[in-house]
């Protein structure tokens, strides 16, 4: 039993990483209705930018704020330059665009900062949290930041005019234009916010997985899985999904014999697919009724 409780705790700790990423995934899905495959790479790039700033002597929180601002602007710029022209292209063409963006960012980051693993600092320290060996103060801090982000997003979408306009633009673009909302800019704003949240996720994740251009590969897959599991329409679901995926992953590794690191991912994914077969809109997603 103690083993079980410990593994769940450890799962929550890793789950915080996925939750953070899933939040960014849901954010962009709300704004543009696609899963952005390049999301993880954008976060990775942002994290490198913050690392570079710290190398130049900027203190942690200064670098943090600058990076979030940079990512927000970069997200908007990417949308305006690369994806606005594709707005009328088929969905699958947009997906190909995400893959292209992925390749570009990964390759450029590798050229600038090379592929060696780098240490990344944490503002929360890495001593055991409340005496537990399984969860560190950094991981606790990461969970705190994720929850804080979730609350801020909730307030933004529920109580601000821009948040309301963004929701309207995402759910019914034509009606949104008819009340005077510039839906095109709402999409850009969605990209900016997703990139900013992604950068926070990256900076929180980097101390755990170390900084290198491929650091987000596994994280993004679990982040997608978490977002889909929680329901792509619900930021809250994404966070819960993230923790669940973390717990799944740890328990599978502990209790199913013969499962090495290699098989953890497929089994976790298989479990998620099983959940989806039962609840196709995810655990907290809104069921969508299709009409002819």
């Amino acid at each position: 039993m103690e083993l079980f409780a410990n593994q769940v705790l450890a799962g929550i700790a890793t789950g915080a990483i996925y939750a953070c990423m899933a939040l960014a995934v849901v954010m962009i899905y709300q704004a543009i209705d696609h899963l952005n495959f390049a999301q993880g790479e954008m976060a990775m790039f942002s994290t490198f930018v913050s690392w570079q700033l710290m190398q130049w002597g900027v203190p942690y929180w200064g670098a943090f704020v600058l990076t979030v601002a940079f990512s927000f602007a970069a997200g908007i710029a990417i949308e305006r330059l690369l994806f606005k022209p594709l707005a009328k292209a088929p969905i699958l063409t947009n997906v190909a665009g995400f893959i292209a963006l992925y390749a570009i960012i990964n390759s450029v980051a590798g050229l600038i900062w090379d592929f060696t693993i780098k240490q990344y600092p944490t503002p929360f320290g890495s001593s055991p949290f409340l005496g537990s060996q399984l969860i560190s103060t950094h991981q606790a801090g990461m969970i705190g930041i994720t929850v804080l982000l979730l609350v801020l997003l909730f307030i933004f979408f529920r109580f601000t005019r821009v948040g309301l306009a963004m929701r309207a633009a995402a759910s019914l673009p034509e009606s949104a234009r008819l009340v005077g909302i510039n839906t095109s800019w709402m999409i850009a704003l969605g990209w900016g916010m997703a990139a900013a949240i992604g950068s926070i996720a990256g900076m929180m994740i980097a101390p755990v997985v170390f900084l290198e251009p491929n650091m987000m590969l596994g994280v993004l897959i679990y982040g997608f899985a978490a977002a889909v599991l929680g329901g792509l329409t619900s930021p809250f679901g994404a966070v819960v999904g993230g923790f669940l995926v973390g717990i799944f992953e740890n328990l599978v590794g502990t209790y199913i014999p013969g499962v090495g690191n290699e098989l953890k991912l497929p089994i976790a994914l298989a479990l998620i697919v099983t959940v989806l077969v039962v609840k196709p809109a995810g655990l907290f997603g809104r069921p969508i009724v299709k009409r002819v």
Partner: protein, 237 residues
């Protein structure tokens, strides 16, 4: 009276297909005008062309300003509210959020609250349901909501696309009564596209009849209602 909206030689296209073949019409300020026509005559396209939601050529002037090159949202920002066919309700949001969205471009925050109250006076049923998700409303209630949402813009001109569609006759009467009131009391110029010609002609001051993308008749609503051709084709007696 001066013309508020002036449309000259309006042609609209869906891909290669031309839907409007050079429409000319104008709306007087403060008037309630109806645009009549059969299915596929181009009524909806006319409204959509005014808001630049279809590819079109020709000159559209609103209060003396050309608006043909403006994007949909910028046309709306001039004070032209459009109640689309199918109502365009934000089904996942509450009734109140739908109303707030109607006023999303306005900067006078204080008046918005008062305006929402005013809408509840016009449409008491919305007040009962203001925290409900708009998708749970009945068709008639959603139509009321769509009109209320459009009014939240404090529009100078309101375009309505078949507001009676799919509604029970009693509800249609009610809705049209409110439209008349809004037109008289709040001085909102209204252009309503309808298939329910009888009701529309009772309500309107002016009327246009459109057939296969061309205006074939125009004039005082009463005269149009008494016209023999119109009676045979649209009123059925």
């Amino acid at each position: 009276m001066t013309a508020m909206l002036n449309v000259k030689d309006l042609r609209a296209y869906y891909g290669q297909v031309q839907a409007l073949h050079g429409l000319n019409f104008s709306l007087d300020e403060g008037s309630l005008t109806t645009l009549l026509g059969a299915n596929g005559a181009g009524k909806t396209t006319t409204l959509r062309a005014i808001c630049n939601m279809v590819r079109s050529t020709g000159a559209i002037e609103f209060e003396g300003k050309p608006i043909g090159a403006r994007s949909t949202e910028n046309v709306v920002r001039l004070g032209i509210a459009h109640v689309p066919q199918g109502r365009g309700t934000f089904t996942t949001m509450t009734v109140e959020e739908n109303l707030q969205l109607g006023a999303i471009t306005r900067t006078d925050k204080k008046n918005i609250v008062a305006d929402i109250e005013r809408m509840y006076d016009h449409f008491p049923v919305l007040k009962q349901r203001y925290t409900q998700q708009a998708g749970t409303l009945s068709g008639g209630e959603q139509q009321m909501l769509a009109v209320a949402r459009a009014l939240m813009l404090r529009p100078r001109l309101m375009l309505l696309d078949e507001p009676s569609f799919g509604l029970a006759p009693l509800i249609v009467r009610d809705l049209f009564r409110i439209l008349g009131k809004i037109n008289r009391e709040e001085k909102v110029t209204i252009l309503v596209v309808e298939q329910n010609a009888q009701l529309a002609l009772e309500l309107a001051d002016q009327a246009y009849v459109i057939e296969t993308g061309r205006i074939v008749m125009s004039g005082d609503a009463k005269d149009i209602a008494n016209n023999e051709d119109v009676r045979k084709s649209y009123l059925g007696y």
